[in-house]
Amino acid sequence: MQTTLRPKRSPSRMETAFEVAVSVFLWVFRIVLVVIVVVGSFMTISSGKFSLETWVDLVVNGAVQGGIYALVALGYTMVYGIMRMINFAHGEIFMIGIFSGYFAAVILDDLGLLNGNLFTSIFSFALMLIIAATVSTLVALAVERVAYRPLRNSPRLVLFISAIGASFFLQYTVSGLVGPGIFRYPSIEILDEKIGLPILSALNLSWLDVVVIGSALAMMAALYMFVMRSKIGTAIRAVSEDKQTAALMGIDVNRAIVTTFAVGAAMAGAAGVLYGLVWGQVQFFTGFIPGIKAFTAAVLGGIGNIPGAMVGGFVLGEAESVGALLIIDGLGVPSPSQLKDVIAFTILVAVLMFRPQGILGERLSRSRA
């Protein structure tokens, strides 16, 4: 981090009327947000409309969704950390992971492996993860090579617009290749069964929930170890801190950047399989909105910060899942689940406004203007 030139605002400086108006407005905005949250929650809870089981279900769903967001958010946060760019096409990399998993699943299903027996199902699941991660990684590396690397020294907006272009290119390439329809994900039946263990039965968990949360956590732990312990992980962190000094220390900057893209894409690809299994369908623009939400998760946790992305993912998942019912339903809004996405985007805006450094991160979004 270099120091910014921006002068510290001294309290003695006279504030103009406009600045006063702005800060009043922002305070009103904060208060309204808090009032909405508190009133909505209070009304919902006091109405007693929903049973404890509903809330438990929602929390579990939120954790499942959050694990997927967290995995995708890792890609955003790592690429941001090392290149200071928002990889707008990352949601599409995720979508390609969903599709690769889908095709792998269809073939495995045809071969009778997907739902053969316990062993073949586990094998199929692992194979789907590996295939999706591989395909996503290859695509991400191609995108990096074609759309980002030549622009590495360009102004930030140029790079960002190129990323938007890459995003649309990938979406409509997939639409052209496989068709624009909705594809139904084959399900792995043993995963849909509920867990019958006496302690866990209150949580009403299915094996799928456990597998999704568990594999998300395992992948995050592996990634964390990779970044903190391995040599190339250290190089990635060094380049994130200071590219030029890292290069002077003999670190291959290019290799660190490419590895970052590859690792982020592998996480997103694997997350795609989990998403497909949870939601059961996929279409060519499926990745777009979850991509933006995962970015929200990265910002929420503190962009550039790996544990932050994980925390942000889970917090966002819970906020969406529980918040939709807890806050919006209490306000008497018809069909609150329609407004689920509004929560995520409001969180994004609110975090950028009031705590741009996120839960755990540095204050990157306002510095380096």
């Binding site: 600045e19 269809v106 140029v158 290069a247 994004l348």
Partner: protein
């Protein structure tokens, strides 16, 4: 010659051949891509030259020729090597398709890739050209002519290589001629229909153009025109020694005034010369030029990338809808002209309301935050929450036309929208032009260049940004209002992210900050795909994506930039923001990955 220098030459040749193979592989991938993504199959319906060649075939042929052309430049020195290299690359490009044909009967790819259809196999195996009628694809038949694309690829690749060996003028002429043929072939049908209306031109039109593609006389004529124009261009070019002199920018009024008057006349008469769906395309182009000019203030002048344009567009559209609609949700039944100022004001108020909280954030974050706003508004538009007010997914119907005229009047239908947009374009262009030279405009430019320095110079960032954002929002609202009037209704599904992306693309491709650039961008981005509605519609966003990447890579200032924009974006050796902001002197030389990036960029 010593042994070592021989080894060096050998090594160099080897690496050159390796490059040729890589080119072949890449173009093979490209051939597979255009085939499987469906571009070739879809564009089979568009003839370039009637019954001779379709656009789909032309794309495949050009891929192989391109492989040869590129490979010839990579091959070791010498004409023989160039031809050999280009033939190899052309062969590889074709062989990729041969492989596809061979795989076809073994694995039915259609489960995953619906474009890998029998018709496509027939096409790339050249069944019709070879006349092997009984070999028509039945799904099981062995592909007798699987060798066809590979063999044709050799010839076409060599052709591409030959092209590089031709003298410069001949090469440029051939490329221009092919380009003109493809372009005119696509427009033949569109040019033909208005010409048929008129007795004098009808015969000419029938002679030159088919309803789909060119006729042979048309081809000859176009090639003739290209050669003539090129010759005139070359002959009239000032001699080498004069070319370095500064261009005379002041044009003579005797030329400017008639040319300007003619241009004005064309612009004013444009939609009257066409029938069918073309006037509505023209109206749509004008509408997007209008919106592009509005966003241009935010993006081009102030440098704020706003991906939430659709939010204000929606506000404007729904305001006009509510105020003027004679249907279910109308509240006032006002005339359009009375509603317009309100639409603009409400959109501006939304701009301030949404802008104030987030304008402190940096560029790309701002883009994502505005994208979030756009999505929030789109979700609200189709939600049950506001269904009672703005109609939910079905939206607001029965929005009256701004000017009520009897049918058949020149102002009926989309034409009046065209003229209304034209008036607003002039107003916005004037506002933008005046603003650019004003104190505020200079503050925007300063802020776009460097926020910290701008703030140090006493510019209030939030205030300046808010003004830019509000103005952009106002014009977005205006665009939405005109949009509502154009279609006579607003349905919630037309409020989506694509509107924002389209407008941003119009500006970026056209040239951000430049008024003619935005108009040009609207013609390219909105006009061209709309003209080929059915066939191109599926691929327009694909093409936009490619266009955005290419423009960012080679011409980040856009096709027709303002003078300033061009200078700003071509200071390659200055350090850029993302690099940590070291002083220019230090990092210009020391940026570690700059050499690596630039060499790999050329590869």
């Amino acid at each position: 010659m010593t042994a070592t220098s021989e080894t060096q030459t050998l090594n160099r040749d080897l690496s050159a051949w390796k490059q040729v193979l890589i080119v072949g592989l890449l173009f093979g991938g490209l051939a597979l891509y255009v085939t499987l993504v469906g571009i070739v199959g879809t564009f089979e319906d568009l003839d370039i030259i009637e019954k001779v060649i379709t656009l789909g075939q032309a794309i495949l042929l050009l891929t192989a020729i391109g492989a040869g052309y590129v490979a010839a430049g990579r091959a070791p020195d010498g004409a023989i090597n160039a031809i050999l290299g280009s033939a190899i690359a052309g062969f590889m490009a074709g062989a990729a398709l041969s492989l596809l044909i061979l795989i076809g009967p073994v694995i039915d790819l259609r489960d995953f890739l619906p474009n890998a259809s029998p018709q496509l196999y027939d096409l790339i195996a050249g069944i019709d050209i070879l006349g092997i009628e009984d070999a028509k694809w039945k799904g099981q038949t062995f592909p007798v002519s699987f060798w066809f694309p590979a063999v044709v690829g050799i010839g076409l690749g060599a052709l591409g290589g030959l092209l590089t060996l031709l003298p410069r003028h001949a090469r440029v002429l051939i490329i221009l001629g092919v380009g003109a043929l493809v372009f005119m072939g696509l427009f033949a049908g569109i040019l033909r229909s208005p010409m048929l209306q008129n007795g004098a031109t009808a015969d000419v039109a029938r002679e030159l153009f088919a309803s789909n593609g060119l006729r042979i006389p048309g081809v000859v004529l176009i090639l003739g025109i290209v050669i003539m124009v090129y010759l005139v261009h070359v002959l009239l070019r000032p001699a080498q020694r004069y070319r370095a002199l500064p261009r005379k920018t002041q044009r003579h009024p005797a030329v400017v005034i008639p040319a300007g008057a003619f241009f004005l006349l064309v612009v004013l008469m444009l939609p009257l010369g066409f029938t069918g769906f073309i006037p509505s395309v023209i109206a749509l182009i004008a509408l997007f030029a209008l919106m592009g000019l509005g966003l241009n203030i935010t993006l081009g002048l102030a440098g704020l990338l706003d991906l939430g344009f659709v939010a204000f567009f929606a506000v404007g559209a729904y305001t006009v809808g509510l105020l003027t609609s004679t249907g279910e949700f109308g509240i006032a039944q006002w005339p359009f002209w009375l509603a317009i100022p309100f639409a603009i004001l409400v959109a501006m108020a939304f701009g301030a309301f949404l802008g104030l909280p987030i304008l402190g954030i940096r560029g790309d974050y701002l883009a994502i935050a505005t994208l979030g706003f756009g999505e929030i508004i789109a979700i609200l538009a189709r939600s049950d929450l506001l269904k009672g007010v703005i109609g939910g997914p079905r939206g607001i119907l029965d929005i009256p036309k701004p000017i009520e005229v009897p049918p058949g009047d020149p102002l009926s239908g989309p034409n009046q929208i065209y003229y209304i947009s034209l008036v607003f374009i002039v107003i916005i262009a004037f506002v933008a032009y005046r603003l650019r030279e004003s104190r505020l405009g200079r503050a925007w430019v300063a802020m776009r260049e460097d926020e910290d320095v701008a703030e140090a110079l006493g510019i209030n960032l939030v205030q300046t940004k808010t003004l830019a954002y509000m103005l952009g929002a106002a014009f977005a609202g205006l665009g939405g209002a005109v949009f509502a009037a154009l279609f006579g209704s607003i349905i919630a599904s037309s409020i989506n992210i694509n509107v924002s992306i389209l407008v941003v693309t119009v500006i970026i491709i056209g040239g951000s900050g430049s008024i003619p650039g935005v108009v040009l961008g609207a013609v390219f981005i909105i006009g061209l795909p709309e003209l080929f509605r059915e066939s191109v519609a599926e691929y327009r966003f694909l093409l936009y994506g490619i266009a955005l990447i290419l423009v960012m890579r080679w011409r980040p200032e856009g096709l027709m930039p303002s003078k300033v924009g061009r200078q700003e974006l071509h200071q390659e050796d200055l350090p850029m923001e993302g690099e940590g902001g070291a002083p220019p002197g230090e990092s210009g030389a020391a940026t570690p990955d700059a050499p690596a990036a630039s060499t790999s960029g050329e590869a």
